[in-house]
Each structure stands twice: as C-alpha cells, then as structure tokens.
Symmetry: C2
Subunit: 154 residues, 2 copies
DNA sequence: GGCTATAGTTCTAAAATAGAACTGTCAAAC
DNA sequence: GTTTGACAGTTCTATTTTAGAACTATAGCC
C-alpha cells in the first residue's frame, strides 16, 4: 500500500484515513476540540515527542484541517486553530468517544460528559439518516457504486 | 506514550483509538461492513501484507470486534464476522466516509452511494443530540469531567 | 503423485516512532 | 549586560513497526 497516494483512492474512507487515520492525529484532534491550540500545550498534555507533534501539525495544516495563526509578533509564535474542514471532523471524534463510552468503559464511569448548550441536557451522539431521521444501523444500509467508483474501476 | 495501556486511559477517545486507531484496522473494518469475511478476500482487496492482516484480525478478535467462526471443518477454515460491538462501530466508519465525501472529493463524484432500506432513499449520515434531536456542532457542546475522569485525576 | 485453494507463519529490509538533546528568539529578573 | 525561562521548533540515534517476499500446512481434485 502506498500511503502517500491513499488520499486519491476512489474510496472516501481511504481518503479520510489518509489524513486522520493514525493514533497521534486523532489524539491531537481531541485536544483541538478541547480548545488546545499551542505547541507546548499539545506536547505536555499528550506526551507526544516534539518531533512527531511538529510533523503532525504540519500535515493537518497542509490538509486544511488546522490553520497556523500568529498570536505574537516578536518573537513569532503561532497557534493552531480548527478550520471549518477541521470542525467538520466533530462527528468522527464524537462517534469514537461514544463507542468508547459504550464498549470500553470501566467501573469508574464515563471520563467526560457532554452537555448540549441548545437544549441544556447531557446527551449521547446518535447517527441518523438525513432523509427520514431514523437511527442508522449497518444492516439497513445498501451500498451502491457511485460515479467516482465507476469511473475509477472503468 | 505507552500504546499497550492506551485502552485504560481515562478517556474514551484514547480507548477507542487503542483498538481502531490505525490505518489498516480502519480499512479492514470498512471491508467488514462491505460483507468481506475471509482472510484471502481481505488480503486481495486491501493489498495488505499477510503478516499484518493476521495480526490485525487477531487483535480485533481479542477486543471482541470480530468473531472467528469456522465455516469448514476439514481443512479447518475460519471467517471473521462483526460482533455487536463491531457493528456498533458503524457510526465511526460512516462519519469518516461522510467527511471524505464532503472534503476529499474530486471531480469524479462520490465513490459510493448509501441507500437507507427503511426509507428507500440515498442519504448522508447526520449526527444529532440524543435528547433534542438537533444536529450537533462542536461549538454547541460543553464538556464536563465525568466520574471516570475525576477518579483518575484524584 | 502433482496441482490448486485457503489460511496462515517466518524472514530480511525499509520506514516510522521514541527519547533525548540541541537551536533560536525574545522578555523579564538579577 | 548577563542569566534565566518560556516557547516553538529541529536534529540525532536507538527501537519498533511495517513492507515484501518466500515458505508451511491441510485437504480436495485430477
């Protein structure tokens, strides 16, 4: 497998995996959604090596998920802020958090609780069909080849 | 970071990442949801090395995401089938697919289209609040430390 | 007996990651 | 005006993972 061209595969999962499909990237994104923005803050809360953190941040900026924004001119210092493309990864992160809550919990209870500001309640994220609003289950979904697949396969 | 104890961290994302947080595992799960079940089938559709495929399948079985079920007695042959715990990863996979559709598309159009059998329409997955049913956005969510975090932190 | 199918295991080379030390800029403290 | 400390990285070597190919094992079929 050539990971360097994975983002061009005719498969949206492959393309997403090419960008966020490794441990550190997902953990960095968690921190982003927890409002962490600075190099030192990522490093100390994740205990990631500085080398890898630097690499991963560059990659996230390259793919347009984070923006590198100066917050100090002298010395030049930057922070990393989620773009809209990055914010749109929220369902991915929340789906993983919810699966962890459901299947990887221990006797201590949930690590984090999520409150929905607009309704004021603690909630779980639920994935529904955009058309009928029903909860989605794998067995109720039928997959068709779309135009992008047909063109690629021939 | 000690990846071998990541599944015990007081963070549901870490725990999920410990299990499915690498490229190959996510791609293998995609195949599972496309009804692939056998070693050779995974290997030829993913072009993964046999060694890694073997490792990843063992790990997914160990974590209860796949079951190794015999389908032939002589010679002994097994296939790998999603458990309920595995099926529950559907929102994670679909969230990634949808993000890829939205942000990593090219001029060829979507690789795959999803049809919801119960309503008969082509759909996108949408993440909503379990309490009020509204679409979730990162900025409308407030995070609290839960019991599992408080106990771990002290 | 030889060929094929399936599900692996074993081996070496290449790539990625860990861990620690080092660089450079500037502010504030002494 | 020299030292200290904060911040955001880069560079280096050692270890771990992954890639790629070859090999093993069981059994059916010709």
């Amino acid at each position: 497998m050539k990971w360097d061209t994975l983002d061009e595969e005719p498969c949206s999962l492959s393309r997403t995996v090419a960008v966020v499909g490794d441990r550190w990237t997902l953990l960095i994104l968690r921190e982003c959604f927890l409002r962490v923005r600075r190099f030192e803050a990522f490093q100390s809360s994740l205990q990631i090596t500085r080398h890898l953190l630097s690499e991963r941040l560059k990659k996230l900026v390259r793919f347009g998920i984070l923006r590198r924004v100066p917050y100090s001119e002298a010395p030049k210092r930057y922070e990393y802020i989620l773009t809209q493309k990055g914010l749109d990864l929220y369902p991915v992160i929340m789906a993983m958090v919810h699966w962890g809550d459901t299947h990887m919990g221990d006797e201590r209870g949930r690590p984090l609780l999520h409150e929905h500001k607009s309704c004021g309640k603690l909630f779980d994220p639920v994935m529904v069909c955009s058309e009928c609003g029903d909860v989605l289950h794998a067995k109720q979904v039928h997959v068709h080849a779309g135009p992008g697949r047909k063109e690629a396969v021939g």
